[in-house]
Symmetry: C2
Subunit: 226 residues, 2 copies
DNA sequence: CGAGGCGGTATTGTTGACAATAAATGCCTC
DNA sequence: GAGGCATTTATTGTCAACAATACCGCCTCG
């Protein structure tokens, strides 16, 4: 894959990575107000690079900043989370369509083999939810880059996924869903392998739509406090 | 509307706005390598806020930055510009669909009246291209915000439009297209007014698809050097 | 007793100087 | 004369001090 550089090349990059993962993992809770100096001591940084990272995070919508009043982690309401899935639906649908047109045969083969390993991960039930989440992320990540649409991949991987992942960590997938999701992944890859771009788009949209409905149902049942 | 604050609230915001408009208008040409100190003197800023703005611009994909090697304005190839339109197609389709479901009657009425004024602007042929571009931007802007999908609006208005507008300035619309575009706008609004979300999505997608093909054709004819 | 204004304090925004890195130039060697 | 290496230089990255602003508690006044 080779996505992350060997090491953050500059202190600002380092700060950016630290903050981003801290937000995604929930180490910095949504809605939490955070002071700059506190963050500096926490991540061994100085305020210059930190502020630069803060700006980038704000631009990506993970932070909100009020002038002279500090920054706080964005808190996404349940409704907004569902809206995110609406966006994912159309964007990843496009990604799947373009991936079907443009992925190399090697990439498709790799994609299929990753699905195999995801299946194994799910079989050994321990840590099922976590591995499923990671596997799911891996799958969608590959489709996004496989679209050969740089901006699309950037928006999906840089903007949307991080916001969704904020909630993945506390959103344990419901029983039975992992298998269903994997099956849906399989069908999408199948369509891509057959270069059936229309079908790939359709299946991807339906896949994400199903995930959204899954969350929607949980919210209705009060199983999910956001 | 009331979008832009009365004045940039902080120096970094000011820097961000300056740089962004400078890039969009072409004052800073794509591919141009720019030094920080030069920018500082040009916009009467100091390097701190400037760097913060630079980070935000980079995060939005208008700049590319190589550590210790300076920043340069992103140069979008013809192929990438067309890819941008593919993204717009699906995202604005979604925006139109949600706008049809969620815009208030007042907003729809306003939208219709803005179309009237756009028509007048086109009638008086002078500066046709410019007004058309602005009117087009205005229209799509309203649809995006009308979707009541904050993240969608943010991604469209914050990420995509600025990149597209970089090329709008040198992309004179072809003869006859303004009228056609206005007509397409009219139909979309009509669908929204009738709360026909499916039709609104369809028409919007087709509208942007037509714009893309228009550009594609120009590129093929060598009328467009990118 | 409540509301509004006022000052202290802590936090953010900004600045200029310092250090580290990469590009560029000139020199030396082959 | 050409190529590679070391030095120089300019640019970026980083830091710590300074200034400006908003929040909080207190006091006064209605």
């Amino acid at each position: 894959m080779a996505e992350a550089p060997i090491q953050p090349q500059t202190r600002a990059d380092e700060a950016f990575d630290c903050l981003q993962t801290a937000i995604v993992t929930g180490e910095l809770a949504p809605g939490e107000k955070i002071g700059e100096v506190e963050l500096c001591s926490r991540f061994n940084l100085t305020r210059g690079p930190l502020r630069e990272a803060l700006g980038r995070l704000e631009s990506r919508g993970l932070l909100v900043r009020r002038p002279h009043a500090g920054v706080k982690v964005v808190s996404v309401s349940a409704a907004e989370l569902l809206e995110l899935y609406r966006i994912r639906e159309v964007m990843e649908g496009l990604a799947a369509r373009q991936a079907a047109e443009r992925m190399t045969d090697e990439e498709i083969a790799e994609l299929q083999s990753t699905l195999d390993s995801h299946e194994k991960m799910i079989e050994q039930a321990q840590g099922q939810a976590y591995y499923q989440a990671e596997g799911d992320y891996d799958f969608h990540h590959r489709i996004a880059t496989g679209s050969r649409n740089a901006k699309l991949a950037q928006m999906l991987l840089g903007d949307l996924y991080y916001m969704v992942r904020m909630y993945r960590y506390r959103l344990s997938t419901s029983a039975g869903r992992p298998h269903k999701a994997l099956d849906e992944h399989r069908r999408i890859v199948e369509a891509i392998a057959q270069r059936d771009s229309e079908l790939a788009e359709f299946l991807m949209k339906r896949h994400i739509n199903a995930a959204r409905q899954n969350i929607e149902q949980k919210i209705r049942n009060g199983l999910l406090a956001i």
